[in-house]
């Protein structure tokens, strides 16, 4: 019989090993999935993980895509990680991302066609404020009415999606667009466009923002008293109150930061790679960012690595779709499996596996 015995201190070694092991297990399980689908598993795994980076054929196209996809993931995940560490579950980042994009697009389109160096910064502020405000709804409902923030933030995602549809077909629709849904192309509006900063790297202002977010999160969690309070509240809420942490203030700050980061990510996306507001603007970054946050162990450095890895699966997935006709949904399954394996292996950080034979007394510690 296998038994689980709690470790006296969480194991650092396993903390680092678990994400790596989870990726390996996912590759194996994913390979099996692809085999079931009738595709060569080794080729599929190679297409997803190796080729986008190193293939001569595709590399020069795929490599820049890495930063493009990883940027928003990392930015959103940093905001989420701060909240998750405090036990505040912001699941509605997708909605905050959408609303941020809508606010930023609205600002841009309001100024159009005037050119000014102020437009872009204002858009960033609008995006952050939009996402912040959307996250304040679950925050205030939680602090004033003790409503579960998971459900509220999630339900608001659906509301945001409907709002997006209303915008694309209604109040943000391109008047010169011959009646088709979708806003003007913001990426073609110079003052508002979020263009590549260094050619062929995929680095746009969103990538810079992601980097800044990583620094901010690191400093905050490791060095600032607020970060200490966040960690304390997540691990031992009663001790946090004893230490003088005000729970309501923490909820507002964590959800607010998460929303602002997600909103900014939405802004950089709509002014950049996505180009405009359309009905299917949101690509699920808000949800994938949750996986990135967990895979990265809620730690800024881990989040960078996890973000790059998941971006790789997106790009590799597109490649596999193109070359082997593997359906896009398979990648989502892949990402879900990754989280499963991570959670399953997590147990080893806090518990030891012991062999307990029946009839023998277990040894004293």
């Amino acid at each position: 019989m296998l038994r689980l015995e709690k470790r006296p201190s969480p194991s650092q070694a396993w903390n680092y090993a678990t994400p790596v092991l989870a990726v390996l297990l996912t590759m194996i399980a994913g390979g099996i999935l692809f085999a079931i689908l009738g595709k060569n598993p080794f080729e599929a795994i190679r297409l997803i993980f190796w080729d986008p980076l190193f293939s001569e054929q595709f590399g020069s196209y795929s490599r820049p895509q890495l930063l493009i996809k990883a940027g928003p993931l990392i930015l959103i995940a940093c905001g989420l990680a701060i909240g998750f560490r405090a036990g505040i579950w912001n699941i509605g980042a997708e909605g905050q991302y959408i609303v941020g994009a809508l606010c930023a697009a609205a600002v841009a389109l309001w100024f159009f066609p005037a050119e000014s160096v102020l437009v872009f910064p204002l858009m960033i502020v609008a995006g952050a404020l939009g996402g912040w405000a959307w996250a304040m709804i679950p925050a205030i409902l939680k602090t004033r009415f003790n409503t579960n923030e998971i459900l509220v933030s999630l339900l608001l995602v659906y509301v945001a999606e409907k709002l997006l549809a209303a915008a694309a077909t209604g109040f943000l629709r391109n008047p010169d667009g011959a009646g088709f849904p979708g806003s003007r192309n913001i990426n073609q509006y110079p003052s508002a466009a979020n263009l590549e900063l260094i050619p062929n790297t995929g680095l746009h202002w969103g990538g810079v923002a992601a980097f800044a977010a990583v620094l901010f999160t690191y400093v905050m969690l490791q060095r600032h008293i607020l970060g200490f309070h966040v960690r304390l509240a997540g691990q031992a809420p009663r001790a946090a109150r004893f230490a003088g942490v005000a729970p309501a203030r923490l909820v507002l700050i964590c959800l607010g930061l998460g929303g602002a980061f997600a909103g900014m990510a939405g802004m950089f996306e709509v002014a950049g790679p996505a180009r405009l507001i359309s009905i299917d603007f949101n690509a699920g970054y808000g949800f994938t960012a949750i996986i990135v946050a967990f895979l990265g162990r809620l730690h800024p450095v881990g989040i960078v690595l996890a973000g790059l890895l998941l971006a790789l699966t997106y790009i590799g997935g597109e490649l596999a779709q193109f070359m082997l006709s593997i359906p896009a949904a398979a990648i989502q399954v892949f990402q879900g499996m990754l989280l499963f394996f991570l959670l399953a292996l997590d147990v080893l950080s806090n518990y030891r596996i012991r062999l307990a034979l029946p009839g023998r007394t277990s040894e004293a510690k």
């Binding site: 459900l151 999630l154 339900l155 409907k162 359906p327 879900g336 499963f340």
Partner: protein
């Protein structure tokens, strides 16, 4: 807009149909939460139930086999969640979310070959002369069998929780798992069984959507029904009878807004479509703001991991 085009009797009959998938999922989750576990994977299980039921029904030509397959799929997925949270002590929130993301992806994958297929029909039940009664007839006596199953389930779960030993043990486990363990109850086993039951119900609810309510398969067709079911459990203060009330209320809103859309109500479609979610949020707020009552009804150990020392 032509409000005369909306038929109230038809409205009520169809709200029962709209409510049933959510009711089924909510009842299952209610039992799970009464045992002290929070399963956020309901949405993922529901959609997997929808696609499995649909695929099985189309392949075998029998809708009931489809329902059974959906129950099995729901229980299987719930088993993954059960192992993660009860055996491997994983965080319940993260595990539930992982299950939802995984389920949404897997269902899209599995359902690819079935988009546009027509499922075998299920007939509504008739009760002879009762069905022909003026108002009550179409509402109460002319529904498909699963509506009646769901109503029976409400009564059954209520009775089981209140009056049987098994129900009392489950409630004890949910209230305070350490005390229950000290009393010799097998906390993990009770919870795993409850989780499996919850998964089966959610799977069935999903299959109802794809086989009876819509009936069709499209990717992501649950559109948040699982989350609404979770909210419903809070609204119901973990009581089956109130879950019924809440589900029907919600079903009513959904059906009403669809009818208003069709009748040309002067609000754009998207805003009407938002209303069910917004109203769910408002209901959640109302329920939680009465702090004393809700916190007393919530099972004491809800969401906390149980590790038997030694």
């Amino acid at each position: 807009m032509d409000i005369g085009a909306i038929n109230p009797v038809f409205l009520i009959a169809s709200l029962m149909v709209a409510a049933t998938p959510i009711l089924l999922a909510a009842l299952g989750e209610l039992v799970v939460e009464k045992a002290g576990v929070l399963n956020l994977g309901v949405e993922g299980i529901m959609i997997m139930g929808a696609v499995t039921g649909f695929a099985a029904a189309v392949t075998t030509g029998n809708a009931w086999l489809g329902m059974l397959a959906a129950i099995g799929a729901g229980a299987l997925l719930a088993l993954v969640f059960a192992v993660l949270t009860q055996v491997l002590m994983a965080n319940q929130v993260a595990s539930g979310l992982a299950l939802t993301l995984f389920g949404l992806g897997l269902s899209a994958l599995v359902g690819q070959g079935f988009v546009g297929a027509t499922p075998p029909r299920t007939e509504k039940l008739t009760f002879g002369p009762l069905t022909d009664l003026p108002v009550v007839g179409p509402i109460l006596f002319n529904q498909d069998p699963l509506v009646y199953v769901s109503l029976a389930l409400v009564a059954g779960i209520w009775w089981w929780l209140k009056s049987t030993r098994g129900g009392r043990i489950l409630r004890a486990v949910g209230e305070n798992h350490d005390s229950a363990h000290a009393l010799g109850y097998k906390v993990r086993r009770v919870r795993i069984l409850a989780i499996l039951f919850g998964g089966a119900c959610a799977g069935l609810g999903g299959a109802y959507l794809s086989l009876i309510r819509v009936p069709q398969w499209t990717e992501g067709m649950t559109t948040g029904a699982g989350w609404i079911a979770l909210a419903l459990v809070v609204f119901a203060a973990w009581r089956p009878g109130r879950a019924l009330l809440g589900a029907y209320l919600f079903g009513g809103i959904m059906v009403l807004q669809l009818n208003l859309q069709a009748a040309g109500f002067r609000i754009p479609v998207e805003y009407l479509a938002m209303s069910p979610y917004i109203i769910t949020i408002l209901v959640l707020v109302l329920m939680s703001s009465n702090r004393g009552r809700t916190s007393l009804s919530a099972p004491g150990s809800l969401g906390r991991s149980f590790h038997a020392a030694g």
